[in-house]
Subunit: 132 residues, 3 copies
């Protein structure tokens, strides 16, 4: 298993971790199999989306925050980050990728993102590759 850290710089935002994931898969030495990219935090997640126009992930952030606002007065959790926890469950804690020829087989426009929902913080990402 490979572990790396990601520094986030705002309360919410998407950080492209594709190159770190590609490197972790390469380090595993596995040529064919699957790679699990896993976030061990409950107010962040992993998602796959467009790697070209940064407006796309900015729109993901804007619209998800409009739907799941921070200050719903019905929230009872005292830390004021229930919005972050719900986003974490909906975007999801992990993504699984196909590995062929020693690299993740992403679509042309796909990048892998650490989705921060309660930053800024330093986050960990785990990558586990299984041959098959």
């Amino acid at each position: 298993m490979v572990r790396f850290e990601v520094r986030t710089h705002s309360r919410t935002g998407f950080v492209d971790i594709t190159s770190e994931v590609v490197e972790a898969v390469g380090e595993s030495g596995v040529r064919s199999g699957i790679a699990l990219v896993y976030c061990p935090h409950t107010t962040a997640g992993i998602t796959i989306n467009e790697n070209a126009d940064p407006d796309v992930v900015n729109d993901l952030e804007m619209k998800s925050t409009k739907l799941i606002e921070r200050d719903d007065t019905d929230f009872t959790h005292a830390e004021g980050n229930s919005d972050s926890h719900l986003k974490s469950s909906l975007f999801g804690a992990s993504e699984t990728l196909i590995v062929e020829a020693g690299a993740p087989m992403l679509g042309t426009w796909q990048g892998v993102y650490l989705a921060e929902f309660d930053g800024p913080r330093t986050r960990s990402v785990f990558v586990k590759v299984v041959a098959g």
Copy 2:
């Protein structure tokens, strides 16, 4: 593959199944690999979120139900549980965990939950562990 049953007690709610998942991974005898925790139902799901303050999952339930209300008059499915089906797809039918040293490698605050969206019912959960 290990299968266990979960009894839910209300229409919607999150049941902590972490100890059952840890036990299933242990039974597999696999020391290193990945574990797929899978829900074979279309009005429930599996999610990962905070294991400490129960207000967190209560807030997940409250806010997801506020967004996806049961009685949208545009729903056409006659069973009155289209909200449950949509929540199932958005929270997701499964979670995949990293296994190291014979146990799931969860973050400090992470628990695994059976998410009930159309209970109370008895639900099945499947756990499949693959070495690697």
Copy 3:
């Protein structure tokens, strides 16, 4: 790895790909393990939901589009499909299935769907099976 194409016929909609997935798993020759069903596009996804009453997936489409409307004037991405990108991240790019006796172990009412959010297009689906 098996790859197949899916033709979609409207901007949004769910196409049942269960039989193609079952066939791909069979072709792999793997009797026991897991199968990753992966969508290499950023405005589509893979989801699991009811296979019986088509009103269910129609309601998923209706309600998700009501929540994430196409024409939010705060969207900045110039292609006019930020709604599609957000749905792709929330429904998710893949689903992982348990394989036993050479076939995916789906629940009675579960089917696997290609979720189209910016069609009509021809989409690719990848299926990777890992033994274990």
